[in-house]
C-alpha cells in the first residue's frame, strides 16, 4: 500500500561508468500510484528487469533515491519494503509440497496457521491448484510450476506492490488468457499495485491501466494504453506498440498539407505551423486508421501482399518506395493491384526527427 517514486534513479552494472551507454538504466523520475496496474514494456536489454529489481530492492541503484510514500527506502531490503515478485522462470522449492510452497512467504512472516490455510486455499482456488496442494512441487509441469510461483507472489494480502517479470513466458497461449484474467481479477479485488514487465505489446496494453515504454535504459513514454496507441510521442513507441506497428512516411510540408512520394495528404493548419521549422518530418499513422477503397479520392497505392488473420486482414500497400500496412475487417473485399487509401485526419500524426510534433 504505497506510492512508489523514483528520484533521479540510475543504475550501471559497471563499477565506474563513464559514458551514458554504460548505464543499464539512465537517470529517471517516475511514480507509481497506489493500486495501479502498470506494464513495463520494451525489447530485451532495455532495462526493464533492472528497473523492476530496483523497485523490489534486489538491486541498489548506483544513483538516486527510491521513495515509498515519501519515505526513503533506497537502502531497505525487499522484506522491509514488503514487495512480492514473480520471476520469468518458475522458482519453486523442490522439496516442499505445493501447499508449503504457497505458505512459505506467510510462515516466514509469522502469520498464524489458520490464516495461512485460508490464504493458501484462496489463492490455490484462484489458480486452479487446489487438487495439487498435497503434491510435491518438483513433480509439476513447467506451466504448473509457474502457477505456484505466481501463487507465492499473490498469497500475501498486505504487500506494497506485486512485481511480475515476464511471468507468462513458459505458458501456452490458451493458458495465458486465463492467467492474465486471474491477475486482473486479483487486481480488481484487492486493489494492490501491480507492475508487469513484458516485451509483448498486446499483453502490456490489455493488462495495464498505464504502460511505461522503455528503450535503451530510458523511459520513452508513460501513459494509458489509449494514449500510447493513439499518440505515441516517439517513433519507437509507435513502432513497438500495435501489431503491425505504426506506418511512418517521410514527407515534405506543402501549402495545405504534406507531400509523400509526389502525392498529397491533408494536414491540419495547426499541425503544419508547429512543424514549420522542423527537420526529418514523417507522417505517422496506425494501420487501423487507414481506409482502403477500390477507387475515389485519396492516396493511390499499389496493393501487394494481403494476409487474412481470421479476425482482421492486413494489406501491404506500396506508395513509391514506401510501404504502408492497412488493417481491414476480414469480410471487407480488397481490390487487387491498385487501390486508394484514406487517412483518418484525427489519427494522422506528424513526427520530426522521431519525436511527435502533434
Amino acid at each position: 500500500m504505497a506510492l512508489i517514486e523514483f528520484e533521479n534513479v540510475a543504475h550501471s552494472y559497471l563499477r565506474s561508468p563513464a559514458r551514458m551507454e554504460d548505464y543499464a538504466l539512465r537517470p529517471m523520475n517516475l511514480a507509481w500510484q497506489h493500486g495501479g496496474a502498470y506494464a513495463l514494456l520494451g525489447p530485451s536489454g532495455s532495462g526493464k528487469t533492472t528497473l523492476l529489481n530496483i523497485i523490489s530492492g534486489l538491486l541498489r541503484p548506483s544513483a538516486g533515491r527510491v521513495l515509498f510514500d515519501g519515505r526513503d527506502v533506497t537502502d531497505s531490503s525487499t522484506v522491509q519494503r514488503n514487495i512480492a515478485q514473480v520471476f520469468q522462470f518458475p522458482v519453486i522449492y523442490d522439496t516442499m509440497t505445493v501447499f508449503d510452497n504457497l505458505a512459505f512467504p506467510l510462515r516466514n512472516r509469522g502469520v498464524a496457521s489458520a490464516e495461512v490455510r485460508s490464504r493458501v486455499s484462496e489463492v490455490a482456488e484462484m489458480l486452479e491448484l487446489t487438487d495439487d496442494l498435497r503434491r510435491r512441487a518438483s513433480g509439476l509441469a513447467a506451466d504448473e510450476k509457474q502457477k505456484v510461483s505466481l501463487g507465492r507472489g499473490l498469497v500475501r494480502s498486505d504487500v506494497s506492490a506485486i512485481l511480475f517479470d515476464e511471468p507468462l513466458t513458459v505458458v501456452d497461449p490458451y493458458l495465458k488468457w486465463r492467467l492474465r484474467r486471474k491477475l486482473k481479477e486479483i487486481h480488481k479485488r484487492y486493489s494492490v499495485t501491480l507492475i508487469y514487465v513484458t516485451h509483448d505489446q498486446g499483453e502490456a496494453l490489455t493488462f495495464a491501466d498505464r504502460v511505461v515504454v522503455m528503450h535503451d535504459g530510458s523511459v520513452l513514454q508513460e501513459g494509458t494504453p489509449q494514449e500510447l496507441f493513439d499518440t505515441p510521442t516517439h517513433r519507437f513507441v509507435g513502432y513497438f506498440i500495435g501489431s503491425p506497428g505504426m506506418n511512418f512516411l517521410p514527407c515534405r510540408l506543402s501549402a495545405d498539407g504534406a507531400e509523400v512520394a509526389g502525392q498529397f495528404i491533408p494536414l491540419a493548419a495547426a499541425l503544419r505551423s508547429k512543424a514549420a521549422q522542423a527537420t526529418g518530418l514523417e507522417i505517422g499513422i496506425r494501420p487501423e486508421a487507414i481506409g482502403l477503397k477500390g477507387s475515389g479520392k485519396g492516396l493511390a497505392v499499389e496493393i501487394g501482399d494481403v494476409v487474412n488473420l481470421g479476425t482482421r486482414k492486413v494489406a501491404t500497400c506500396r506508395l513509391g518506395e514506401h510501404e504502408i500496412k492497412v488493417v481491414v475487417p476480414p469480410e471487407q473485399p480488397i481490390p487487387s493491384e491498385r487501390g486508394v487509401l484514406e487517412f483518418n485526419p484525427a489519427m494522422t500524426r506528424l513526427y520530426a526527427d522521431g519525436r511527435l510534433v502533434g
Binding site: 501456452d172 497461449p173 490489455t206 496506425r286 475487417p329 469480410e331
Partner: protein, 367 residues
Amino acid sequence: MRLTLENVTKTVREQPYLYDVNLDLVSGSFNVLLGPTQAGKTSLLRLMAGLDFPNSGTIREDGTDVTLLGVRKRNVAMVYQEFVNYPSFTVYENIAAPLRRAKRLAAPQVDARVRATAQMMHIDHLLQRLPSELSGGQQQRVALARALVKEAPLLLLDEPLVNLDYKLREELRRELREIFRHGATTVVYATTEPQEALLFGGNTVVLDAGRVLQSGPALDIYHCPATIRASQVFSDPPINLIRANIDPQGCRLSPSVAFPLAPHMRALRPGDYRVGVRADHIGLTGHAEYGCLIRAKVELAEINGSETYVHAGHGDFQMIALLQGVHEFGLGDEIDLYLDPRRLFVFDGAGDLVAAPGENAGGTGAH
C-alpha cells in the same frame, strides 16, 4: 521434395508420442504444424529429419522409402526452438559449415553463398563475431541462415521464433514469409500460435496429443474446424463453446437465450449440441433477422488500443467478445451482446463438427 508419411506411429518406452500419422506434403509447399505444447510436433519433425525412427509406418521422399535412413544420408535442414549454433565458430564459419561438409563446395563458392545468405538474414555485419556475442534474435538469424544456405529440399523449423521478443518475432515472420514465398523447398514449420498458421497461410496440420486432427489450407481449417479440439487449438483468443439444445423451432442456449435457426443449422436433428462462436463474431449490434441477444455481465474488459476484449458471463457460461474500437465498461455492468447465429459452429456430443457457416455467412462479400 514431396514428403509422405503413411501410418507413422512412434512410442517411447511404451508411451505413445504419435499415433497413426498420415501426411502428404507437396513439393515446394509451406506447411504449418499447429498444436499445443506436448502435441507431438517435435517428435514428428524429428522423424521427418531422420533423427528418430518410427516404430511402424513408412516415410517417403519423392516416393522413395527413407523410413530408416539416418539424418546424414538425407538432405534436410533444421532450426530448433533453442538457438543452436556452434559456440566455438564465428558466424561466418557457422554458416559455411553445411556448405563445406554436406555440399563440399570450393572456397570461393562457399564465400559467395555465405555472404549472400548473411545479407538476406541481415547479419552480414556480424560475420566475424562468435554466437555468444550476439543477441538472441541475431543468434536465431544465424541458425536460420545456416539452415537456408544449404538449400536442402526439406527445411524443418521447430518453433523457431518462440524464444524471441514479440516485435522481433513479427519482423522475422515477415522476412521468412518473403523468403519462402517462391522457394522450391518443402518447409515444415511447427508452432503453437494460430496467428502464425494464418500469417504463413499454406497447408496447416492441426496436431493434438499425438494425433493429426485435421489438415488443409489454414483458412479452410479456421473456417471449418472438424472437431471441438481442432477449433480450440486453432483459436486465439479462445473460441467460446456453449451448450445448446436444437429443435426445429430454434436453438436454445439458456432459459433466456434462444434464437431461430440460421440456414446452415436447419438440417440438424433435434437434440443437445455444443455451439462454438469466435470472439469476433460476438458484437454490440445484431443482425435484424438473426441477431441473438445475450444479456451478460461484464467480468473484465481489456483494451489493446484499437480493440476491446470483453470477458462476460451469462448464467453458467462465460464468453470472450472481441469488439472493434475502444469501449469502456465497468466491472459488473450489464451489457447486451449479440451473437451472430450465421457464424456458429455446431458440434455433436462426440465433439465432431456437424454444421459450419458457409464461406460468406453474414459477411458482406467474399475475400
